[in-house]
């Protein structure tokens, strides 16, 4: 299978672009929202600034107008007295005194006569003033040569127009260096011509403070300009009445701008304008003062109005950027993970692929073609191996050499790749050694020593190795810790095996070999504990009992195999396979020439088995044409011999096997009875005395006597811990 990583890479890249698009849309939405909010907030702030400035201007105007009104009223109210006094020149000073005394806002008052009005006194201007500091009222005269009042604006302007006139503000040097302004009103005589100018001086000192205190915004300030552009009030005290606006701005460059500003402020109109100067924006709200011609304005720096908004805007922008940065980080982290995951997935697929190849290699090591020897009629085999994982630690192998079937089954401790490597080694060793050796004992011993020498991983292998002589059915076998195979004849029994130790544990161990004969239509069933330990979903084990139930009957190997596979899979159901499952059926089908060995019978140490012995003999007799009497006595002798083993060879509760082989050699019948029970020589038992009287005869002791009496020759030997009783009957 070939992998296609570029397709996955493309998918990842597409997802990345999609993620970035989402981030972009999120960013645009956030920015649009922020912009709309900023726009409306700015509008609101601008409106608020206008309202605040306008209300301040209005308040200031009210205050100024109040004073102006008071001053004007103070003069007007005294005009009629002044007219009256024209006829009494000495009382003229009284008018000014009344004006000053009656009106606290008025700091001084003069009634300046038109020169020549009084013939005897060409200039006359009695002046009453209140000290700015002490509040003391003093009488002075402005009719001095130095002062020359007829040339002053406050005198000439109303004289020209015949109307009331507010003078330009001025610093009153004699009256305490304070800012003053003067209202002058013409006084007409009875003829209607102007006789005198009556004035009231008012202090504007409060105005500077009042205007200076207007603080609509932290850095905002107010500016009060006179009709001629003189600065009457501003935060910089040194400029007050000292400079005109034009003088101040003439040093600041951009004359055109400031000329425009000056013109606008002094135009007598109400409104606002914004000026850009040196990178800063200032908003000017201005309003003219009636009658005086002054101009009041409030200058608010742009940053005062929008500074808060800008700070919030900056904060929002920072938050947005942080949020977007986090989104991007999350996006990239996610994709890095995705890429990593894809890499891992690729790696996993590659490993699976390799395991798949390994599995194929492993499976190709063991014979999988069945029937394995289609040209042979004397052997029929079937086997199956199902690893729990891709590769497993179970093995079986077989081949025929020199008319001998070499076979083995094994189970490596552990599972997966490590076990599979040991399995491969085990199988190779078996092949190599069995190519030269005939003795399973030597094969297993050599395998063990090789495997122990290189066993650094402490893995071990249970192995059963057999060599079956195809001509005679003689089976030599050696077991290394594997579970005992079953022999399937007319009934099922476990092959008698020495446990020995598994391979790979003790290096210089010598394994014991055993042997037996199998006969036509007998089968051997070899398996690994993956079958008996197969679990169903209820964690119940398949077990030997179920195994034995499936094994009944004489059948072709493939039928046995299919039944066993079905039984295990039906039992296990959906539960996952926990261990490798391996089974091997060997069905022996060689008809060994009858004059060599007749029959083979295996009995359990159960007294009920005696009836099978009788059947065995009946069959034998029928086949060989033995007469009834002979059969009866053979039956008796064999029954006694077998009964003896059944009753005494094995401890109570221990299942043991008894094997009986019958051989017909010319005119001799030979029976060989063998068991692995307690060593006992029946031929050594004392002869029963059959001549004793009823009371002296013992109840028992006749069994062995009958064997010896019936048979012509009875010999006993003990071989490899096996009791072998050989009985010969001549016919």
């Amino acid at each position: 299978m070939k992998l296609n990583p570029s397709k996955e890479k493309n998918q990842t890249r597409q997802s990345l672009w999609l993620g970035l698009l989402v981030v972009l849309v999120a960013a645009l939405t956030l920015e649009a929202t922020a912009l709309i909010q900023y726009f409306y907030s700015r509008k609101g702030l601008r409106q608020e600034a206008s309202q605040r400035a306008e209300s301040q201007l209005e308040a200031m105007e009210y205050r100024i107008m109040d004073i102006i009104d008071q001053a004007e009223a103070a003069v007007r109210n005294k005009v009629w007295i002044a007219q009256w006094c024209l006829s009494v020149p000495d009382s003229i000073r009284r008018v000014t005194e009344r004006i000053v005394n009656d009106n606290p806002v008025v700091m001084g008052s003069v009634m300046a006569m038109v020169p020549g009005y009084f013939k005897n006194q060409p200039l006359m201007a009695p002046y009453t003033s209140r000290s700015h500091i002490t509040g003391e009222v003093s009488a002075l005269s402005l009719a001095t040569d130095e002062y020359n009042y007829p040339s002053k604006d406050w005198f000439t302007k109303p004289l020209e127009t015949g109307e009331g006139y507010w003078s330009e503000p001025y610093i009153d040097i004699g009256g305490g260096n304070i800012l003053m302004t003067t209202y002058s009103l013409p006084v007409r005589d009875k003829t209607g011509s102007i006789a005198a100018i009556l004035t009231a001086d008012i202090s504007l000192e409060w105005l500077t403070d009042a205007v200076g205190n207007i603080k609509v915004y932290p850095d905002a300030y107010s500016l009060l300009l006179s009709r001629q552009g003189k600065i009457m009030a501003c935060p910089e005290k040194s400029l007050v009445m000292n400079k005109s606006l034009q003088e101040v701005t003439s040093t600041m460059g951009d004359t055109a701008l400031f000329n425009r500003v000056g013109r606008t402020l002094l135009s007598g109109e109400e409104g606002n304008m914004s000026i850009h100067y040196k990178g800063a924006v200032n908003h000017i709200y201005f309003s003219p003062m009636e009658r005086t011609g002054w101009s009041m304005s409030i200058v608010i720096p742009d940053k005062d109005i929008y500074g808060g908004l800008r700070r919030i805007g900056n904060l929002v922008t920072i938050m947005q950027l942080l949020g977007l940065a986090m989104l991007l980080l999350i996006l990239f982290a996610f994709f890095r993970r995705q890429v990593k995951f894809n890499q891992l997935e690729d790696k996993r697929k590659r490993m699976m692929n390799e395991l798949h190849v390994a599995s194929n290699i492993q499976m190709s090591m063991i014979p999988k073609e069945f029937p394995p020897f289609p040209e042979r009629t004397d052997i029929d085999m079937a086997a199956d191996i199902v690893p729990a994982k891709e590769v497993g630690g179970d093995l079986y192998d077989f081949f025929i050499r020199d008319e001998k079937l070499f076979f083995c089954i094994g189970d490596v401790s552990g599972k997966g790749v490590p076990a599979s490597l040991v399995m491969a080694v085990t199988r190779s060793l078996f092949r190599t050694l069995a190519a030269h050796e005939y003795s399973p004992k030597r094969i297993v011993t050599a395998m063990n020593s090789s495997m122990s020498d290189m066993n650094d991983s402490n893995m071990f292998v249970t192995l059963f190795c057999g060599v079956l002589d195809m001509k005679t059915g003689h089976l030599r076998y050696c077991n290394a810790g594997h579970n005992a195979p079953f022999i399937l004849t007319d009934h099922i029994w476990k092959l008698d095996v020495l446990p020995n130790l598994p391979l790979g544990i003790v290096p210089d161990m010598t394994f014991e070999e055993q042997s037996m004969d199998i006969h036509y239509d007998d089968s051997l069933f070899l398996y690994t504990d993956g079958i008996t330990e197969a679990e169903n979903s209820g964690h119940e084990l398949f077990g030997e009992e179920r195994l034995e139930k499936v094994l009944h009957g004489r059948r072709p190997a493939i039928n046995h195999l299919k039944d066993m596979q079905k039984a295990v899979s039906d039992f296990v159901g959906d539960a996952p396979q926990s261990d490798d499952i391996t089974m091997l059926f060997i069905h022996y089908l060689n008809q060994v020439p009858t004059d060599v060995s007749e029959r083979h019978l295996v009995l359990k140490n159960d007294i009920q088995e005696i009836s099978r012995l009788a059947q065995f003999l009946d069959t034998l007799a029928a086949e060989k044409g033995l007469d009834h009497s002979l059969t009866m006595s053979l039956n008796l002798a064999l029954e006694e011999a077998v009964t003896n083993v059944i009753l005494y060879a094995y401890p109570k509760g221990v299942t043991g096997l008894i094997e009986l082989d019958a051989f017909l050699e010319k005119d001799t019948l030979r029976f060989v009875l063998s068991d692995r029970g307690v060593a006992f020589d029946p031929t050594a038992a004392p002869e029963a005395d059959t001549t004793l009287s009823v009371e002296d005869r013992p109840i028992g002791g006749l069994g062995i006597y009958l064997v010896r009496k019936t048979m012509d020759q009875v010999t006993y030997r003990n071989e490899d811990g096996k009791n072998i009783l050989s009985m010969i009957k001549k016919i």
Binding site: A614, S633, E639, T690, T691, L692, V694, L706
Partner: protein, 101 residues
């Protein structure tokens, strides 16, 4: 193995049918154990249809014989076939029992 027991006055007839091999003897021994109480009378072991006997069967015969001897009774073995007669001969049982045809 089939066993039929018939009682007539002082004599008990035991009809043994089939093979008295080791497993059969285990059952037969239990079935015939009560007969030891009646061993003061005559026990007839009818072997007309007994086809086979093993040493464990012989033990039952001998046990009854010993009981009869102790109680003053009698055991008669009736109608044994040739093969069983051979076994009786081999084992000296012909001398221990009264054999009838």
């Amino acid at each position: 193995m089939e066993i039929n027991i018939t009682q007539q006055n002082n004599s008990t007839t035991v009809q043994l049918i089939g093979r008295l091999d080791t497993p059969a003897s285990l059952d037969a021994a239990k079935e015939l154990e009560p007969l030891q109480e009646k061993a003061n009378g005559t026990i007839i072991l009818d072997c007309k249809e007994l086809t086979y006997i093993s040493s464990s069967g012989l033990r039952i015969f001998l046990t009854l014989r010993k009981a009869a001897m102790n109680k003053g009774g009698e055991v008669i073995v009736r109608s044994i076939n040739e093969d069983i007669r051979n076994v009786f001969m081999m084992t000296g049982f012909l001398n221990l029992f009264k054999i009838e045809n």
